[in-house]
Symmetry: C2
Subunit: 534 residues, 2 copies
């Protein structure tokens, strides 16, 4: 499951639902709703007074309304009254609203906690006997939960940790990136940045955290995330750099170092990159080189960064004469991709990211290609489950290729499908005309045509890929780009070795091969587009 659902705490009086719920909500950055408090506020009197004045049936009606109201909230931790689970109507609403977490405890513990029971009308008279009776009546209802936690010998901190662990397990789809001592996990979910503090604890990050982002993202998400991390015991500093490629240079890197020094970040510190490719590349480079390497965490906010650049450890800044010239291979310790961040992106940027998902499918996973053909419209609509699944599968492909060739010796070149021509088009158009994914889409189409001309694939594959790219709203042909300029850019590319241009060319859907024997006249011809209608 991938939808970030509410957390509903059920359990007998005295199990600490309110205290645990309050802390959990703070940790997640969610709102906290206590249905008893809601009832008291609505009614203007205490629960005990309602019981005394109007009796239990009246209270249960009021409680049902409060429960319904609470269940409608989003991003909320809901603590219910001990008897809220008695009505099937309430149970159904709560179950639809979120994960049911039941706190249970031994009767002796509860008795000690509820004490004299002044405010507990149901226990009045013979507290122990009443409590035991109620407990045994309700036990099946308290057992009917997604997670049952015995709090008899468990502190509130421990309860919260267990709930978050549960959420991380069920609310995120994860992909392991297996690189020996440099292994890490890629998580994707909807709203799962709420779990980042938990994950940071998991990797043993120290208190000092720097959150690198852009000013706009800081307002949208960064400040909230920082507040959230503070609740987890971290000491985050938010560092912003202007959006755009110009921030990807040594000068900006130097300013980020300054900020880390000013924040007294030591070797145990973590740098969280909240943003797209520029933030990830820049922050990755800084993390790789600050004190010879601190923990790097990617929280990619663009689809392109989520499925591609956040995995694999390529970090870099630009040199005035060449993009990504200064950098390092440096793996993150953790990647947390939250699709909630995609909802504020322009549609064009989402489509651009889709190009890399389609690329992943073509190079390594024919099933994914089919999945994309089936579900493209729902992905474009950012439908949670479908989108998370597509991202997870694309990330798994990237992870696998990186695992086979961490330092880009050979195998990793398959990821360059569409990029030999695509990157050259970006260079030839000065990076201004096409978004990266658009250029890659054109590159994929032309390289597929090239493969067909060389007899590697049939025209049907070319057509199928072209149709999917077109449905994704991606271009497949360079408009008014001089093919000579593209040829020149390819020859100068750092992927070229001793003047030979390398291509990753499809052999069928799901498989590509590296070739450096493509005749330049053929490339020229395909670029010029003349006999495409052969």
């Amino acid at each position: 499951m991938v939808i970030m659902r509410n957390v509903v705490l059920i359990g007998f009086m005295g199990t600490g639902k309110t205290e645990a719920g309050r802390l959990l909500a703070r940790r997640l950055g969610w709102s906290f709703i206590d249905t008893d408090a809601l009832i008291e506020a609505r009614e203007g009197r205490t629960i005990a007074e309602i019981f005394r004045d109007c009796g239990e049936p009246y209270f249960r009606d009021v409680e049902a309304r409060a429960t319904a109201e609470a269940a409608r909230a989003g991003r909320a931790v809901i603590a219910t009254g001990g008897g809220a689970v008695l009505r099937e109507e309430n149970r159904a609403r709560l179950r639809a609203s979120g994960w049911i977490v039941s706190l249970v405890a031994e009767p002796e513990v509860l008795l000690a906690r509820v004490g004299a029971g002044v405010e507990r009308p149901l226990l009045a008279g013979e507290p122990e006997a009443n409590l035991r009776r109620l407990l045994s009546e309700r036990e099946p209802l308290y057992r009917d939960a997604d997670l049952v936690l015995d709090v008899s010998r468990r502190g509130v901190e421990d309860v919260v940790n267990r709930v978050v662990e549960f959420l991380a397990g069920y609310e995120e789809a994860s992909v392991p990136v297996r690189l020996g001592s440099r292994s890490y996990a890629f998580h994707v979910g909807d709203g799962n940045l709420a779990l980042l503090g938990w994950h940071l604890r998991g990797i043993g990050a120290g208190r000092g955290v720097a959150l690198l982002t852009h000013p706009r993202l800081r307002t949208m998400m960064g400040n909230a995330l920082a507040a959230n991390l503070r609740e987890w015991g971290f000491d985050p500093a938010v560092v912003t750099v202007p959006a755009g490629e110009r921030s990807k240079g040594l000068r900006t890197a130097s300013r980020v170092y300054d900020a880390l020094v000013a924040h007294r970040c030591d070797r145990g510190a973590a740098l969280v990159c909240l943003g797209g490719g520029v933030i990830g590349d820049l922050g990755g480079f800084v993390a790789a080189t600050y004190m010879r390497g601190i923990a790097l965490v990617h929280a990619p906010t663009t689809l392109l960064a989520q499925v591609d650049s956040s995995i694999g450890g390529k970090t870099a800044v630009n040199h005035p004469r060449a993009k990504n010239l200064i950098g390092a291979f440096y793996q993150p310790r953790l990647v947390a991709a939250d699709i909630a961040a995609l909802r504020s992106l322009p549609a064009r940027e989402v489509r651009s990211g889709l190009a890399e998902i389609i690329k992943a499918a073509v190079i390594a996973d024919a099933d994914l290609f089919q999945y994309l053909e089936q579900h493209l419209d729902r992905i474009l609509a950012l439908e949670r489950e479908i989108l998370v699944e597509a991202i997870r599968r694309a990330a798994a492909i990237k992870a696998q290729v990186v695992e086979e060739d961490e330092f880009e010796s050979h195998r990793r070149q398959v990821l360059n499908y569409g990029h030999t021509i695509g990157h050259a088009i970006e260079v030839a158009t000065g990076y201004g005309r096409y978004a990266h994914g658009e250029a890659i889409a054109i590159g994929m189409h032309l390289e597929a045509v090239l493969a067909a001309r060389m007899g590697l694939i049939g025209d049907a594959v070319v057509a199928r890929q072209e149709a999917l790219l077109a449905r994704a709203g991606l271009p497949t042909r360079p408009e008014g780009v001089a093919s000579r300029a593209v040829m020149e850019a390819m020859a100068l590319d750092k992927k070229a070795r001793e003047g030979r241009i390398r291509f990753a060319l499809p052999l069928r859907l799901g498989e590509v091969a590296i070739r450096d024997d493509v005749p330049p006249p053929l490339v020229q011809e395909v670029l010029a587009g003349s006999p495409e209608s052969h």
Copy 2:
């Protein structure tokens, strides 16, 4: 053996001694001496004319004088006449001068090569019969060599490679640094930079090479080394940065990137760092980050860099607020330490390097400590074999510690013996008063005193170390340095964790332990020096 001796080529006429010798000399950057050419120049006529006019006995006398003259040269490849080995006097001189490399070939090959023998008086008349007779007479003499190479089916390039391989095996002492796929070799010798091109070929470096050095070193060694590398088929660019710590910053790194771009260095390029710690740290950082990492080669020219900083992969530049703040762990592909470079160093700098050798002995090798006690004066006199052996053993210790803990998690901290106090003294004195090794020597003495006060070692160990440091001309007490300033610097050091100062303290000669439980008042007392005369 560690002395870079000449190479003497012996062999029959037609074995290609002149051609091979000439190429070998170019590759090594040595002079080439052809004794036959020397004779002709001295006599003002050809060998054939001398034979004709004065007979063989006269020629042999002239040849003996020319051989004696050639044998006196240094850094020379000497090609001898085919009959030079006939006289014992010549053989003894040549053997004393260098390695005897004998080129042999099958008679048929030689006959084909010497052709009609117009210029070969000894073959006149019946060339084949004469040749076979001479060969069989001289065979034992040609076999009496350090290296015998059959050139019957071997081109000159191959001959030269075999000779250089032989030299690398016998003229350098080597230490392997075993780090899996990041393993490399440390070589130390006298004049062995002549072999650098050979080693670069060995690691598969591409044509593009950048030689990073200081202007003074460029004149002294860099230009010659570049010319040498050119002979090996490389395309070296010499890049200079001003000497001194101020070059160790992002600004200078940026200028080095520019130079690499201007020289069109690609991913296959190598960066050779010819210099001391600043060049190694700066160049190491640039190599680690240019195109996400190119081959790094250290050619350390100070004793400190040879025994310490060139091994282990720590690279860094300074941040205005902290030294070495920006850096990476990035292992070199090769280290070539040439003690010839040390001969132009001020004595103080050599003594400073000695501090790290003594440190290595104290932390891990009691035998080396004894070796230093025995041979210190000869090391200070830069006596080749002794010095090379001391460097090799110190390098082996550094290599072993690095192998156990590449990324400085724990074990590597033993290398910080003397550095906790030593580094703090450098900080407290603004890096101006003491050379690094001097500060470390003081640190070693005071930390040994600390260990003695804690009952870890006896006073005899302290005294032995102090005596050796003193003989090396190193200070052991901070003169007029406020102990409070040193205490403060220690607390701020990046090696301190959560306010606790870490020390590597000796348990005996050859073993240290990491301790973070040293009582600060004790440190204060030792620094103040009061009860040192206990």
